[in-house]
């Protein structure tokens, strides 16, 4: 598990940077000002990201200025330029359309303001942060192998994949990470991997029905989003084929409810507060002249029937006790720790 190791090293390095940066802050007279440019403000995911960012500011004693494009790229560019004019010390941005930021990025460079980018690379970004979708796909595969081994006493069986939109990175990585790991198990066959168009729930229903006809000996279905697997679970229920196991991705409310009632075996939660903490914290470190890796991808939390209770406690703590949440630790360690402490009910 080379990748896992490299994550761990990254984290150790980041933890060391944290210690260094305390010194950097001490040298400042006024607190640093960090600007955050969000996509919008009305989505629970974005709200949670901001909560994580505010916690990073509280812990490290800098000022966080939160702005957003309200879903409109022109307004997002304006918000970005406002921050440049205010002369903030660094900007963290999740661009709606990377193409639209050419002149704005040049203005930031001219003003000597470093920019940290989320999810998409733009010319001039100091670092790009995002989710480790491919690694997460691998985590799902490991759990699928475990489920199939429990069923047959050895790793074998027939697997199908409900893909999203072909050509999108998120689709390629979530599926590719999964099939990469399964390639090590010659007796596990991916019998079908089909696109649901533009992540269409209706196509997911139709594909699942058709697979029941075409592959009656199917053991497990991996869906790249809860919006695909939850409808698929209804199909299996209606057809009386609940013996077919479903593993999912996204960790939305309906997905977690599916894990709770057993219709899904697992999902991957992306922990927006954790992501939000690091988005802003990275900008702060960069503004404090601390070296930060050129890319930093965060893994998600694998939520299964076994660790669901722990994960639910983790979610409660993120919402209510964010002030003492161990953001500095790797996600995998945090999830494992909660799982061990709270177990399954």
């Amino acid at each position: 598990m080379n990748r896992k190791m490299s994550f761990f090293i990254t984290f150790v390095a980041l933890a060391m940077l944290l210690t260094l940066s305390i010194g950097a802050v001490g040298a400042q007279d006024a607190p640093l000002r960090i600007g955050l440019v969000q996509l919008g403000t009305d989505n629970p995911f974005w709200i949670a990201q901001v909560a994580g960012g505010e916690e990073a500011a509280r812990r490290n004693g800098f000022e966080l200025i939160v702005t957003s494009g309200e879903g409109d790229v022109t307004r997002q560019v304006e918000a970005f330029e406002d921050l440049v004019n205010q002369g903030v010390d660094a900007i963290s941005i999740n661009p709606l359309d990377a193409q639209a930021f050419g002149p704005a990025m040049e203005a930031a460079a001219a003003a000597n303001i470093p920019v940290v980018c989320l999810f998409s690379m733009m010319d001039g970004c100091v670092t790009v942060l995002g989710f480790e979708e491919r690694v997460n796909g691998g985590l799902v595969a490991q759990y699928a192998v475990q489920l199939l081994t429990e069923k047959y006493g050895e790793p074998r069986g027939n697997v199908a994949i409900l893909l999203g939109a072909l050509g999108q990175d998120i689709n390629t990585n979530r599926a590719g990470g999964f099939t990469d790991v399964l390639a090590n198990y010659p007796n596990i066959t991916v019998v079908a991997a089909e696109s649901t168009g533009n992540w269409e729930a209706d196509r997911a229903v139709a594909l699942t029905e058709n697979w029941l006809t075409a592959y009656p000996d199917l053991d497990l279905i991996y869906g790249l989003s809860d919006s695909l697997t939850v409808p698929a679970s209804d199909v299996l229920k209606r057809a009386g084929r609940e013996d077919i196991m479903l593993v999912s991705y996204d960790g939305t409310e309906v997905g977690l409810a599916g894990v709770a009632d057993g219709s899904l075996r697992s999902t991957v939660a992306l922990l927006p507060q954790y992501n939000g903490f690091w988005n802003v914290y990275a900008a702060y470190l960069v503004a404090s002249d601390v070296q930060f890796p050129a890319t930093y991808y965060m893994p998600g939390a694998m939520v299964t029937t076994e660790n669901l209770a722990g994960f639910q406690q983790l979610s409660v703590d993120l919402a209510e006790n964010i002030g003492i949440f161990p953001f500095e630790l790797p996600v995998g360690n945090i999830v494992a720790d909660y799982g061990a402490r709270y177990g399954s009910e």
């Binding site: 629970p44 533009n198 992540w199 729930a201 209706d202 997911a204 075409a214 809860d226 209804d234």
Partner: protein
């Protein structure tokens, strides 16, 4: 004798090219797959085409009057999203569904006013309501996914007629019966009512229709409104069969719908076509998708094949038209 029979057969085939294509594909798919003809699989296809088929009723009429409605997937989303939202918050099923259908229908009212009142072209006007309608519903839903767990939707999703167990034939899904019933109503509407005749008159020659006293604007507006209403019904069906309302539910359905209308032989220029043939178009599309999965066609090829199928339909239709004009 033989010549006249052959001519008559050729005339029938060029007049019913959609039906001929359907039968040819049905036989081909049946021969090339061991499971395609199983009753359960055929019933699955009926259910899978239901959303596009119901959207296709309204779309056919709009295309017949020489218009187009790109906003159907948003009207669908309005009805699915709002009724699910209200049901989750404890509203009774009839009220929730009524509000959902009304909201969907309002999309058609706005389309009608923009196109016939303000004079905006149908493509631009319905593109606007396509984007705006879904956006508005998402604001109301707070961008979240909503699980549909109401007994009414459950009933639509799971109910089937009694099957014949001895022959391993399952029951026909209620959703399929709803689709066929709606098509029967639409076909009668188009043949037996003044409204139906007016639609053809407007599509054939709008000016001539106006001069002979047809209230062109009112009929056109009514047509956009019924299109959104049928999209509202499609929204209820998609909510029942998927069981979860995600922000992109049904997006892109307008493409499949217009494809089904064209495959059914309705001219995009208006005036010529039959609403019931759109059902044939939807069947062709979803039979093909089903067969490709059963025959394990790689997913990239499926996407390409679906596009080619629609192109082929347009070309064949055009050629048939030309040969008819020549003879």
């Amino acid at each position: 004798m033989i010549t006249s029979l052959r001519t008559r057969l050729r005339d029938w085939m060029s007049g019913n090219s959609a039906l001929v294509a359907l039968l040819a594909l049905f036989i081909f798919f049946g021969i090339t797959s061991g499971t395609f003809l199983l009753p359960n699989n055929i019933f699955n296809i009926f259910r899978q085409m239901s959303v596009v088929a119901v959207l296709g009723i309204g779309m056919t009429l709009v295309i017949l009057i020489g218009g187009i409605d790109l906003s159907v997937s948003s009207a669908l989303f309005m009805s699915a999203g709002l009724s699910a939202l209200l049901l989750r918050d404890g509203t009774s099923a009839p009220v929730a569904i009524g509000v959902g259908l009304l909201a969907a229908t309002m999309v058609g009212v706005i389309n009608g006013l923009l196109i016939e009142g303000v004079g905006i072209s149908p493509v631009i006007a319905t593109l606007g309501t396509l984007i705006g309608g879904r956006g508005l519903a998402l604001v109301l839903m707070n961008n979240a996914q909503i699980r549909v767990e109401d007994p009414f939707f459950e009933f639509i999703a799971i109910t089937r007629t009694p099957g014949i167990e001895a022959l391993n034939i399952p029951g026909l899904p209620l959703i399929a019966i709803i689709v066929f019933a709606l098509y029967l109503i639409a076909a009668l509407l188009m043949r037996r009512t003044i409204y139906g005749r007016m639609v053809y008159a407007i599509g054939g020659n709008s000016t001539a229709a106006r001069l002979s006293g047809v209230p062109v604007r009112s009929v056109k507006m009514l047509t956009y409104i019924q299109c959104s209403f049928s999209a509202g019904i499609a929204g209820l069906l998609i909510a029942a069969s998927t069981g979860v309302i995600s922000p992109n539910l049904g997006s892109g359905a307008e493409f499949f719908t217009i494809a089904a209308v064209v495959l059914g032989g309705t001219r995009l220029s208006g005036g010529i076509g039959r609403v019931e043939r759109t059902l044939i178009g939807a069947l062709i599309l979803f039979m093909t998708l089903n067969w490709m999965t059963i025959r394990r066609v790689p997913t990239e090829w499926q996407q390409a094949a679906t596009g080619l199928l629609v192109l082929a339909a347009i070309i064949i239709d055009r050629l048939a038209q030309r040969s008819r004009e020549a003879s």
